[in-house]
């Protein structure tokens, strides 16, 4: 079972929910797909076991074979190639690594070399196997790192929790497209409900079963709760705003290890998710 935890904005508590949920399971694999700013390993903080590079193929041109036909330049819809002073210039960061230029070159003058864009780190913390995707600063898209993170899942892994990036862009779509269930984490504000609406529209588009977890609730006045009720989104948990939980989290601690109420809450949340997915 693969569960993605997502939200329309940063700071709602995706990592809070995902890491504490992971710790509440008997065994779990946790994928940190928030590759621009992964921080799940600060909570699930086992020692680093391994780190592997993630690379993308980038075209290079063998100038002795290139006859300047410019078919590659014309083919590239991302405009990653330019033909200047009788030679092709490749713009690595614009390239989407589709390989099309190599295919259309009639002279076989294009070959590919790997360019590192990030890493995947592996750790084990108690019951949880932690995989962290890290995109190098200045790189534009982490989707390939997310694809490689999903390759880490083995058929025998019964529970996988995916900590998705914030928002609803390509990296989020890649983080949810292969999951069985989505948990939408939302804050009790108008801004929070707007962001909830964005991810809600996304999970509907992907036909994913989903439910909400309200975080940092301050009582009855909660626009995110109103949105859930109006749109028939089941609320699996309503986590009250608590200085204690905030303090524990700020110290890099998992609340389920220190606070009994939180422990019960997350256990209950996990049970509900299991039931939901089985239906």
């Amino acid at each position: 079972m693969k569960i993605a935890v997502l939200s329309g904005k940063g700071g709602t508590g995706k990592t809070f929910v995902a890491t504490n949920l992971a710790r509440s399971a008997e065994r779990c694999v946790y994928l940190d797909c928030d590759v621009e700013e992964p921080n799940g390993h600060l909570f699930l903080n086992g020692p680093l076991l391994s780190s592997s590079k993630v690379s993308l193929p980038i075209p290079k041109v063998n100038e002795s074979l290139c006859d300047g036909c410019k078919k590659c330049v014309d083919f590239c819809r991302f405009n990653a190639l330019a033909f200047v002073q009788n030679r092709v210039i490749v713009f690595d960061k614009i390239c989407h690594s589709c390989g099309g230029c190599k295919i259309v070159c009639p002279q076989d003058a294009i070959y590919e070399v790997d360019r590192e864009i990030g890493q995947i780190e592996s750790r084990t913390y108690k019951n949880t196997q932690v995989f962290t995707g890290k995109l190098l600063p200045g790189e534009e898209s982490g989707t390939s790192i997310i694809h490689e993170l999903f390759d880490k899942i083995k058929p025998e892994d019964s529970l996988v929790i995916i900590d998705a990036p914030p928002g609803s862009a390509c990296v989020v779509m890649d983080s949810i497209k292969d999951v069985d269930y989505c948990i939408l984490v939302a804050e009790p504000s108008i801004f929070g409900s707007h962001n909830l609406k964005m991810v809600h529209e996304l999970v509907k588009l992907f036909n994913k079963p989903h439910a909400a977890v309200l975080n940092k609730s301050l009582g009855e006045d909660n626009p995110s709760k109103d949105y859930c009720i109006e749109n028939n989104i089941e609320i699996l948990a309503d986590i009250p705003f608590s200085q204690e939980l905030g303090k524990l989290t700020a110290e890099g601690k998992l609340v389920v290890e220190y606070n009994n109420e939180a422990k019960e809450l997350f256990k209950d949340l996990l049970d509900k998710i299991y039931k939901e997915v089985r239906i």
Partner: protein, 119 residues
């Protein structure tokens, strides 16, 4: 000398466009023959890599000097590789800027911005 300037309108008395890569036209002026051309910039509506494509058009048109308010990183790589001179535009029309250049009143372009790329 063939001069290229980003333009919003096909009118040599219109102002210089604020963007290089996404300008709808380029005013191309040959100062030996006084020939004037407005080249349509297909890159203006490109999803990404507009600077590269636009600069390639400038190269294709055999422009050797550009006058622009600013230039992105990727476009500048193409422009530099083609040994095209870059000057900073001043307030005024396209034709005014051609005259400023001839009078030596324009400075070489120093600030290359990182572009406004979207992934």
């Amino acid at each position: 000398m063939i001069i290229g300037i980003p333009a919003d309108k096909e009118d040599k008395n219109s102002p210089v466009s604020g963007s290089f890569g996404r300008a709808p036209f380029y005013f191309i002026y040959n100062d030996e023959t006084n020939e004037v051309e407005f080249a349509v910039n297909d890159a203006a509506k490109a999803q990404g890599g507009a600077g590269v494509k636009a600069a390639s058009l400038i190269v294709e048109k055999k422009v050797d000097t550009i006058i622009t308010p600013q230039l992105g990183e990727n476009a500048s790589m193409v422009i530099k590789a083609a040994n095209i001179k870059m000057y900073q535009s001043k307030e005024g029309s396209l034709m005014d800027n051609v005259l400023y250049l001839k009078d030596g009143k324009l400075e070489q372009l120093g600030n290359i911005h990182e572009g406004f790329h979207k992934s």
